[in-house]
């Protein structure tokens, strides 16, 4: 039954769908034209933008200083715009088979650079006339770390055939418990443990409904996420408001790696981060290796692609799925703690859709850990820009700026997933004979 459903639904796609290359290529060209119009022509020819590289707060203690780079705003934006257009044209004309996402990622990166240079131009509306590349990267990586946790959770669940839409709820649960534990014990190790427990429990609930009772996974996921969010708001009013000492956590401290942290730009970005950054890198490597190089990974993928076949060679489908969904919940729970550790305080709206953006990142990253990292960086950078472009007093309303990550997500899922294929049995209930 399962196989019939999955093969027929494949045939149900409308045939007249735009090809992925056409969509991405067109999008890139439009992006390039917009860059040219808004940023290159939108700045005067005498404007300059300065790129600085030294970390803002610790520049005195660094052994090396990197000089500042001054660029002519209009010229640089023009070059960026033309490069984006060239990428789009190349995709449209050559229709490359591989690495389309990489090309689009490059176009997006150029676009981000153009935005920042334009925002920081001299004679612009704001007094700030430099872009500190280090803080931009550090700022973009913080949300990217959280999103990567979410997407990795999605990989674990969906590779085994269970859709986990409750990531948003697991984030919130992790953030709430992490904040509570950190406020009481000031110990991030225990807070992380709390995230593991709550995320795993929520994963267990999802798995229980999806596997024991074969409920619709999307419905259960959405309801579970909403349930946790209202519960978070309830507990916030019932516990955190009357007892503020339970919501008095602080951002996680940075763990500086000696020597390496002193490398210009890369040092502060990669070797002076909090523990959740290093943990997520370890998880990415671990899950990549586990999924594609171990017996466990082969079994998980078999269960996600063709549970009947997997069962016929003696794999316990239900147990594999339980294990993965709970494991995925734990990863998302830690992501929630990372979210709290980045923001430093719990509030009911702390997740603001990151769990759902992580799902989009999962699709964009084609259910692969490496792809998910690229997607998270893209979304993380959008979150950073949305929150920080205001400091440059760009002539756009704050509300519009804050839409950026959500719009990017919509554009990405509509333009990029095209022919991306989920694990074949993803979301389908499995019944033993």
């Amino acid at each position: 039954m399962t196989t019939i459903v999955s093969s027929t639904t494949g045939a149900l796609r409308p045939r007249l769908r735009l090809s992925r290359d056409q969509v991405i290529g067109t999008l890139a060209i439009l992006l390039g034209l917009f860059t040219m119009w808004a940023f290159a022509l939108g700045s005067s020819s005498r404007s300059n933008s300065q790129l600085t590289f030294d970390p803002v707060n610790t520049s005195g203690t660094l052994p090396w200083h990197v000089g500042n780079l001054t660029l002519a705003t209009r010229l640089t934006c023009l070059v960026a715009a033309l490069a984006i257009i060239a990428i789009g044209a190349e995709i449209l004309i050559r229709r490359p088979k591989r690495a389309v996402m990489v090309r689009f990622g490059a176009a997006a990166a150029l676009f981000f650079v153009a935005i920042l240079l334009w925002a920081a131009r001299t004679h612009g509306p704001s007094q700030v006339d430099f872009v500190n590349l280090t803080s931009v990267l550090v700022g973009g990586i913080a949300p990217a770390v959280v999103l990567t946790y979410g997407s990795l959770s999605g990989i674990l669940c969906e590779r085994s055939g269970v859709v986990n839409i409750a990531i948003e709820g697991q984030f919130l649960g992790g953030a709430f418990l992490g904040s509570l534990i950190d406020s009481v014990t000031h110990n991030f190790f225990l807070a992380t443990l709390g995230g593991v427990v709550i995320g795993g429990l929520l994963g267990l609930v999802l798995a229980f409904f999806a596997l024991r009772y074969q409920s619709d996974q999307i419905i259960v996921g959405v309801v579970l996420a909403s349930l946790v969010i209202s519960l978070g708001s309830y507990l916030n009013l019932q516990i955190l408001t009357p007892y503020p000492q339970y919501n008095a956590g602080s951002p996680a401290p940075n763990l500086t790696i000696p020597l390496l942290a002193k490398i210009p730009v890369l040092g502060p970005v990669l070797f002076n981060e909090n523990g959740y950054f290093y943990l997520v890198i370890a998880l990415v490597l671990f899950i990549s290796f586990g999924l594609f190089r171990t017996r466990w990974g082969l079994r998980v993928r078999a269960v996600g692609e063709h549970p009947r076949a997997a069962a016929s060679v003696g794999i316990n489908v239900i147990r594999t799925r339980y294990f993965n969904v709970i494991l995925g919940g734990m990863v998302a729970g830690v992501g929630g703690v990372a979210l709290f550790a980045w923001q430093g305080q719990f509030q009911p709206g702390i997740t603001s859709g990151y769990g759902y953006i992580a799902l989009a990142g999962l699709i964009f990253g084609r259910w692969r850990p490496s792809g998910v990292v690229v997607a998270s960086l893209l979304f993380g950078m959008s979150v950073y820009l949305a929150n920080n472009l205001q400091t440059y007093q760009v002539p756009v309303s704050t509300s519009i700026l804050l839409m950026f990550p959500y719009v990017v997500t919509i554009v990405v899922v509509s333009g990029l997933i095209g022919r991306v294929r989920a694990p074949a049995a993803d979301g389908l209930p499995y019944k033993r004979d």
């Binding site: 969906e158 619709d216 259960v220 349930l227 759902y356 699709i363 509300s399 839409m403």
Partner: protein, 412 residues
């Protein structure tokens, strides 16, 4: 089970019984949440072994608090027997006696409309999780028309409502078109657009002429008197229930006819029940997807403007945000009503009562309103899992089909 009479078997396997049991279980979950988070109840259980009277005291405290919470919910949402008796015997203060019912109906009006919109997409096998965003845009569009055009009521009210519908239709078109032309999954598009809609709302209220003149806050202009859905019993009655009730009733009837009697509605339902059969029999899935989202978005928009024209008369930054988000409640209401218009109407009344009662409970016992939301979501979780409810209550019957939609996972 030969000894069980046939009528009893029919009752046992009917979805209505399951719905009632799910509601009961939801209330049980709610009482556990109250027990676990209310300090006096916890204290009573902590001193369980301190004295001989400990257990009795603990149980009594629990029942007192949980009972008071649910009693407040009921009297705040339906009717207070004492007050009713007082009104009957003295003939006075009917307003305060009827206010709870009026409030429940007021809240249920837009909720019914939005939920039917969501239900139509569910019946078509699609997810519209963006009803809240569509309702917000509908509200904005309606306010834009209804606060600026000085026309007589007979023209202004219809075009205000129409503007709301149009706003919702345009917003609903986005996920529909994207789904059918690029394959973007509607769940992600609609979820993301909810956030975008909230920000559009803030932008509108802070940076456009719709902002209340002379205001720095996020608050819109008032609808002109001609654009309002006036209270059923007149403004002087103090009861907020308004003519929007009839709009909601009309939507229920039309939606019932559309889904159960019209041929397009049949195509919708076939597409939801068996996409393959639909395609083989010549139903164009792309057309159905787009139409379902247009209709659903339009109804959500209508819900948004009904809320404004009937109840709030202006919009502010809190419009349909948080626990006021009827678009999110609509998802649960639709599932509760098994996606059928009449069922949805009852579901909307129940959830409206929970919401209104929750507010009164918050006022008198201090238990946050979110408890009502927790109960609502728990109920739906049980609705989505009928087999579990049957197991809990030891009901044996033929396997009742749960809520299974055609859209499962990302490949569909």
């Amino acid at each position: 089970m030969p000894s069980v009479p046939r009528w009893l078997r029919r009752v046992i396997s009917s979805p209505i019984l399951l719905t009632f049991l799910a509601i009961t279980l939801g209330l049980v979950v709610g009482s556990f949440v109250i027990i676990l988070t209310t300090a006096p109840v916890l204290d009573a259980w902590r001193s369980l072994f301190h004295s001989w009277g400990g257990p009795g005291h603990a149980i009594k405290t629990t029942f007192d608090y949980v009972g008071a919470a649910y009693r407040d919910m009921f009297t705040g949402a339906v009717i207070d027997p004492n007050s009713l008796w007082h009104s009957i015997t003295t003939g006075q203060s009917w307003t305060s006696t009827l206010t709870p019912l009026s409030e429940t109906l007021t809240y249920a009006t837009p909720l019914t409309i939005a939920s039917i919109g969501v239900g139509i997409t569910f019946q078509t096998g699609l997810f519209n999780i963006g009803a809240n965003g569509q309702a917000i845009i509908g509200g904005i569009a309606g306010v834009a028309v209804g606060s600026s055009l000085h026309l007589p009521t007979i023209i202004l009210l219809p075009i205000t409502l129409l503007a709301g519908v149009l706003g919702g239709v345009l917003t609903g078109a986005l996920p529909g078109l994207l789904k059918s032309f690029t394959g973007a999954h509607e769940v992600i598009v609609t979820l993301m657009f909810n956030y975008v809609a909230n920000l559009i709302l803030l932008f509108t209220l802070l940076s456009t002429p719709l902002q209340q003149p002379g205001q720095g806050n996020d608050i819109s202009r008032n609808l002109l008197p001609g654009a309002l859905l006036s209270p059923l019993f007149g403004t002087a009655s103090g009861l907020r229930v308004n003519w929007g009730v009839f709009i909601a009733a009309g939507v229920v009837v039309v939606a019932w006819w559309f889904l159960e009697r019209s041929s397009l509605g049949f195509e919708f339902r076939v597409s939801g029940a068996n996409p393959h059969a639909a395609r083989v029999s010549g139903i164009n899935p792309r057309k159905i997807t787009i139409l379902a989202f247009l209709i659903s978005g339009g109804l959500a928009g209508l819900a948004g403007i009904t809320e404004v024209a009937g109840t709030t008369h202006f919009i502010d930054g809190g419009f349909l945000v948080g626990s006021a988000g009827i678009g999110f409640t609509a998802i649960t209401v639709s599932l509760l009503g098994r996606n059928r218009p009449v069922g949805i109407m009852w579901g909307a009344l129940l959830f409206a009562a929970l919401g209104v009662g929750g507010r009164s409970m918050q006022a008198s016992t201090g238990i946050p309103l979110d408890l009502a939301t927790v109960i609502q979501y728990s109920i739906v979780l049980f609705i989505a899992t009928p087999v579990m409810v049957q197991e809990i209550f030891r009901i044996r019957s033929r396997a009742t089909s749960g809520l299974q939609l055609a859209s499962q996972g990302w490949n569909t």
